[in-house]
Amino acid sequence: MMESQQAGAAAKAPGAVLDGVVEILEEMTKEWDTGFSGSIGPETSLMNNLTFESIDIVMLIVAIEERFGKKGMPFEELLMVDGHYVDDLKVSQIGAFLEKQLAAGTTA
C-alpha cells in the first residue's frame, strides 16, 4: 500500500506518468513476438505495434492499477470514442488519461 502511494505521488512529476506507462509496456511485451523493432514511445500503438488483444488490455489495466496505486479508474473513457470501442490506442492517450485520473486523487 505504501509503495503504491509513493508511486502515485511520484507519478505527479511531469512526464513521470508517461514514463511509467512505457516502463510497464516494455516490461510486459519484452518477450512477445510482436515484430515491432522500435522503442516504445508516445506514438506507439498498442494494437498495431504491440499486437494487443482484449485479454492483454485487461492485464495492462491490472498493471497500471498496481503501478499507480489506484483502482476503479474509468478506463471506458480511454477505450471509447463516440460510444464505440477504439480500434487503436496510443501510449500517449493512456498517459493523458492517467494524468487526468491521478490528478483527481483518491488512492484505493
Binding site: 485479454i55 492483454d56 492485464m59 471509447m80
Partner: protein, 537 residues
C-alpha cells in the same frame, strides 16, 4: 512439524473418483484412502473456484477475504462496472504469507486470484494467467527464465485458452472433445514438471498445486465420465474414444500424484482437497429472462435469444449490453456467481433505495424464485435463495450480489435471453456441487478412516497444524482433530493486529463513474471486450 504437500483437484468429487478407484484406474488415490483419512469437503456458500480456493488459502470466508467471483462488480448509479478480481482484492493474508513470517517456505502453483503475485518466501505462479503475461506473473521473476531453460517444459501449455474454456462450460462442439481432453492431459504434465523441478531444487515446507483439468473435463464431458449416463448413448466409436481419453486423463493424473508424493518423501504429510464437487445438470434456468418476466429487468429490443444450451453470452454482446438500464432494477451478470444484484436506485439515476425498500424488493424476488417449478416434473427449480448477509457475512459482504441462488441441481444460471425461463439441456452437463473431497495421509494421520464432512475452511487449520504452527484466532474453520491419530491440542496464535487489509473496501468515488456522455451500450461493449472473460465460468 512435517513438510506438507497440498494437491488441489479442482472440482473433484468422490462420485467420480470412487468409480475410477474401483476400476483400478487410480491406484495412488486408492492407496491414499487406505493409508489415510477421507471426508467430504463442503465448499463456500456459492461453490465457485475463485472464492473457494481463496477461502482455503486464507482460512477466511468470502465476506472476510472479499472475493466473490472471477470479476469484481462495482455498483454505480447509472449501471454496474466490472473488472477482473485480482490478488490485491484479497483482504486477508494467505497461508503462504502467514507461514513465511515464521520462516517457512512455500511453493504455490496454479491457484486462482493470485495475480499479480504477492511476494512470498518461496515460489508462486498464479492460475488463469495468459501465456504472454506469465513472466510478470511469476514470483520471483527470475523463475520464468529458469523454467524456460528446462528442456522438457513448455510454458505455453501451462495456461488455459480463455475462449476455449468459456465454450467448454456451456457447449463444446463434438469435434473438439478429444483435443480438449488431450490438451488438459498435457497441461497437467506441465504443471507437474514445474512442481517437480521446484521440489527437487529448492528447500520447501509447503508445496501446493492445483490440477484444474478435473473441472474442465467434468464440465464438458460429464456424460462420458459417468458410467450410467455413458451407457445411454455411448455406442459410437467417437463416444468411446472420448470416454477412453477421459479415463486416461484420470489415470495420468493419478500417476502425477504418485510422483509428487514420492518426491515429497514418506515423512511428508499429503493433503488432497477440491474447491467444490461436481454433479449432473439437465436443465437451464434463465434467470434474467425470469427477472424480465417479473418486471425487474428490461431487455433491449434487439437483445438476441441465446443459442440452445448457452448459459453465457459467448459470441454475443455481454449481458450488461443487453439490458435497458433505464428500466432494470435487478439483474445477473455472470453465470458462475448465481447472483442477483439490485440496483442502488430502482432504475438508472433514481435515488438510492432505502433499507426497507431494498429489503422489500429482495423479498419479492426471493418469493418469486422459490415458486418457480419445472412444469414437466413439478419440482422447484430454485432450492434456496440467500441474501448476501446470509451467504457471505463479514466486513466485505456488501461487495457480493444481493441474492445468491442455489438451483435444484446446483447448476449455474444462464444470464442469456431466452424464449422460456426453463429449458431441458440437450445433453446432460457437469456442474459444480458444494460437496468436494478431502484426503490426508502421512505421519500422525489416521489410517483407513472416513470422517464426517469437513468445511473448506477446516483445511487451513489442518495445514497449519501439519506445519507445526499455531492456528490463527481469526480463522473461521476448526482444526479437524479427528483426522489425527492423537488428537492434538488446538494451539491458537495470538490475535492478529487489525491491518489495512481488514478494513471494508472503500466505495468507488462518484467521480470515478462512467464518463459523461458515454452511452451505456457503448460502455457495455467495452466491458464485453474487457471481460476477455475466460475469467467468467
Amino acid at each position: 512439524m512435517s513438510r506438507t504437500l497440498l494437491i488441489g483437484l479442482d472440482g473433484a468429487t468422490f462420485t467420480v473418483l470412487d468409480a475410477l478407484m474401483a476400476r483400478g484406474l487410480m491406484p495412488t488415490l486408492k492407496s491414499l484412502c487406505d493409508r489415510g483419512v477421507r471426508a467430504g469437503l463442503m465448499s463456500t456458500a456459492n461453490p465457485l473456484t475463485p472464492l473457494a480456493w481463496t477461502s482455503l488459502l486464507t482460512g477466511r470466508s468470502p465476506g472476510h477475504h472479499g472475493i466473490f467471483d472471477f470479476v469484481r462488480v462495482e455498483q454505480h448509479a447509472d449501471h454496474p462496472h466490472f473488472r477482473l478480481a485480482t490478488s490485491s482484492d484479497i483482504r486477508c493474508p494467505t497461508i503462504y504469507a502467514r507461514i513465511g513470517e515464521q520462516g517457512l517456505r512455500s511453493i504455490s502453483l496454479n491457484f486462482p486470484v493470485m495475480f499479480p503475485p504477492r511476494p512470498i518466501d518461496g515460489f508462486l505462479i498464479p492460475g488463469f494467467v495468459p501465456h504472454r503475461h506469465l513472466q510478470r506473473a511469476m514470483h520471483p521473476r527470475e523463475l520464468y527464465d529458469r523454467l524456460s531453460a528446462l528442456p522438457d517444459l513448455t510454458l505455453k501449455e501451462l495456461p488455459v485458452d480463455f475462449e476455449d474454456e468459456r465454450r467448454s462450460v456451456q457447449v463444446l462442439a463434438p469435434e473438439r472433445h478429444e483435443e480438449w481432453v488431450r490438451f488438459h492431459i498435457r497441461r497437467e504434465r506441465q504443471w507437474f514438471k514445474v512442481l517437480e523441478h521446484l521440489m527437487q531444487t529448492e528447500p520447501w515446507d509447503l508445496a501446493s498445486v492445483v490440477f484444474d483439468g478435473v473441472d474442465k473435463l467434468q464440465h464438458a464431458c460429464w456424460r462420458f465420465i459417468d458410467d450410467g449416463l455413458f451407457a445411454t448413448f455411448g455406442d459410437s466409436d467417437w463416444a468411446q474414444r472420448v470416454r477412453d481419453l477421459c479415463l486416461d486423463y484420470f489415470r495420468q493424473l493419478d500417476d502425477l500424484m504418485a510422483r509428487a508424493i514420492d518426491l515429497a518423501g514418506p515423512e511428508t504429510r499429503v493433503f488432497l482437497a477440491s474447491d467444490h464437487g461436481f454433479g449432473p445438470s439437465d436443465e437451464i434456468f434463465y434467470v434474467n429472462s425470469w427477472l424480465a418476466e417479473q418486471g425487474f429487468l428490461k431487455w433491449k429490443d434487439d437483445a438476441p435469444v441465446a443459442p440452445e444450451g448457452y448459459i453465457n453470452t459467448e459470441g454475443m454482446k455481454a449481458a450488461a449490453f443487453l439490458f435497458d438500464w433505464s428500466r432494470t432494477s435487478a439483474y445477473t451478470l455472470t453465470p458462475g456467481s448465481n447472483g442477483i444484484y439490485i440496483r442502488p436506485g430502482k432504475v438508472a439515476g433514481a435515488p438510492d433505495l432505502s433499507d426497507a425498500e431494498r429489503a422489500s424488493l429482495r423479498r419479492r424476488i426471493i418469493d418469486g424464485l422459490l415458486s418457480v417449478v419445472n412444469p414437466k416434473t413439478g419440482e422447484r427449480v430454485v432450492r434456496k435463495v440467500m441474501t448476501r448477509e446470509e451467504a457471505f457475512p463479514g466486513p466485505h459482504s456488501g461487495l457480493a450480489a444481493d441474492l445468491t441462488l442455489v438451483l435444484r441441481d446446483f447448476g449455474f444460471v444462464s444470464v442469456t435471453r431466452s424464449d422460456a425461463i426453463l429449458k431441458t439441456r440437450k445433453d446432460v452437463a457437469g456442474v459444480h456441487n458444494p460437496r468436494g473431497i478431502f484426503l490426508a495421509s502421512g505421519p500422525g494421520i489416521r489410517r483407513g478412516a472416513t470422517v464426517g464432512d469437513l468445511s473448506i475452511l477446516d483445511v487451513t487449520p489442518a495445514l497449519m497444524q501439519s506445519l507445526g504452527l499455531a492456528v490463527p484466532q481469526e480463522f473461521e474453520g476448526r482444526l479437524p482433530v479427528e483426522i489425527f491419530e492423537d488428537a492434538p491440542a488446538v494451539r491458537l496464535a495470538p490475535a492478529a493486529v487489525p491491518s489495512e487489509m481488514d478494513r471494508p473496501a472503500e466505495p468507488v468515488a462518484a467521480g470515478m463513474a462512467a464518463a459523461d456522455g458515454m452511452d451505456a451500450e457503448g460502455e457495455a461493449t467495452v466491458m464485453e471486450r474487457l471481460r476477455a472473460l475466460g475469467y467468467i465460468e
